[in-house]
């Protein structure tokens, strides 16, 4: 499976490394900016440049999955839109940084799966065996909900 990981954060690096370890062909795209993290893994090719501009050069036309994992929600949305509508990538996964922006992460931006790190952790806590009164909503998110999106009114723990 060909995977394009767009990002410049530690999280993006870890996603790319984990996928490469599972046997995926991974290409990592990062901005040409100070402090942008990149994987040092011989299995991963790194393309440096403006993600909006270098997607095609990075192999977007041969990619099965794109992971938009930058630290900017707006950039993740635009990268996802281009991935789906310009390059027709089958599966687009996008990272939500700010829970306030999670309402935007849907199919209108070409996103198949939205992942919010904060939400995933919160959901895991709520589902943990020790968590009292885990809400029913947390185990059955409504259709169209962001994976890992915090529920509207989580109970006090």
């Amino acid at each position: 499976m060909n995977v394009l990981v767009v990002g410049s954060s530690q999280l993006a690096v870890q996603v790319a490394t984990t996928l490469a370890a599972s046997g995926c062909e991974v290409i990592y795209v990062r901005a040409d900016a100070d402090g942008a993290d990149e994987p040092h893994d011989p299995r991963i090719s790194v393309v440096v440049g403006d993600p909006l501009v270098v997607l095609e050069e990075a192999g977007a036309l041969r990619t099965d999955v794109l992971v938009a994992c930058t630290t900017s929600d707006a950039e993740n949305l635009v990268v996802s839109f281009l991935a789906k509508h310009r390059f027709h990538i089958g599966c687009v996964v996008a990272r939500v940084n700010d829970p306030d922006d999670s309402w935007l992460f849907d199919e209108s931006w070409g996103i198949d799966v939205a992942v919010s790190a904060a939400g995933l952790v919160a959901e895991t806590v709520l589902r943990a065996p020790g968590a009292s009164a885990a809400p029913a909503a947390a185990s059955a998110p409504p259709p169209g909900a962001t994976a890992g999106d915090p529920q509207p009114s989580p109970p006090a723990l």
Partner: protein, 217 residues
């Protein structure tokens, strides 16, 4: 008209002032609270701190009633997202974004968003001032990609047809003034000494027009 301006930097503030003076009701949104500092007191009250992609912020800024949304931040992705959300989610009738990086023009095209580029407009203007001082544009269109210029017809072109000055897609002669009377020429119209002509020209073809008019200094 209620206008939401996302990005309250120099351009946003200037636009806010200008629209207010025209009687528009303006709200400015910026992530940086310091952006409010350069605003006059009347506009400071219309400033909202936050991102132009947040539903709460946009709604507080009155996007539901807005007749226009202008996205002017220095981040093309934020501008594109704010503009598209304004158009598609809130059905704002008029949406304009600033294109900060000229290499992103295809992004706005794909999203179908009208974008203006200050970078391109400034570069075009300065290049013209440096190289084509005597062919001053009377009017520029879009971001300065095409313009209307007016110049006297040099004596050595007298007797030549207008069509010889035209290049498809680059230079068109739209008007000729002769003895105080203006006319729209055909390509077979013969030029005369003391004519003045108006050209619509692509900015990258200004040099070529200079060549035709013998103005290479």
């Amino acid at each position: 008209m209620h206008v939401v301006i996302v990005g309250s930097g120099r351009t946003g503030s200037e636009l806010g002032l200008r629209l207010s003076s025209l009687g528009d009701d303006v709200t400015l949104v910026d992530l940086d609270p310091r952006a409010a500092r350069r605003l006059p007191a009347a506009l400071k009250e219309r400033f909202i701190e936050g991102t132009g992609t947040s539903r709460a912020v946009l709604e507080k800024a009155g996007i539901r009633e807005a007749e226009a949304l202008v996205a002017l931040t220095a981040d093309d992705c934020v501008n594109a997202v704010a503009a598209r959300v304004g158009r598609d989610v809130y059905r704002v009738p008029r949406v304009i974004a600033r294109r900060f990086d000229p290499s992103h023009s295809f992004v706005y095209r794909e999203l179908g968003i009208t974008a203006v580029s200050t970078v391109q407009a400034t570069a075009n203007e300065v290049a013209q001032l440096l190289h084509h001082e005597r062919l001053e544009p009377r009017l520029t269109f879009g971001n300065g990609e095409t313009m209307l210029v007016r110049a006297p017809v040099p004596a050595y072109l007298a007797g030549r047809p207008v069509g010889e000055l035209e290049v498809a897609g680059e230079i068109i002669v739209v008007e000729v003034t002769r003895g105080g009377h203006s006319m729209i020429p055909e390509s077979s119209t013969l030029l005369a000494e003391h004519d003045e002509a108006s050209f619509v020209v692509a900015s990258q073809s200004l040099g070529r027009l200079h060549g035709f008019l013998g103005r290479w200094a």
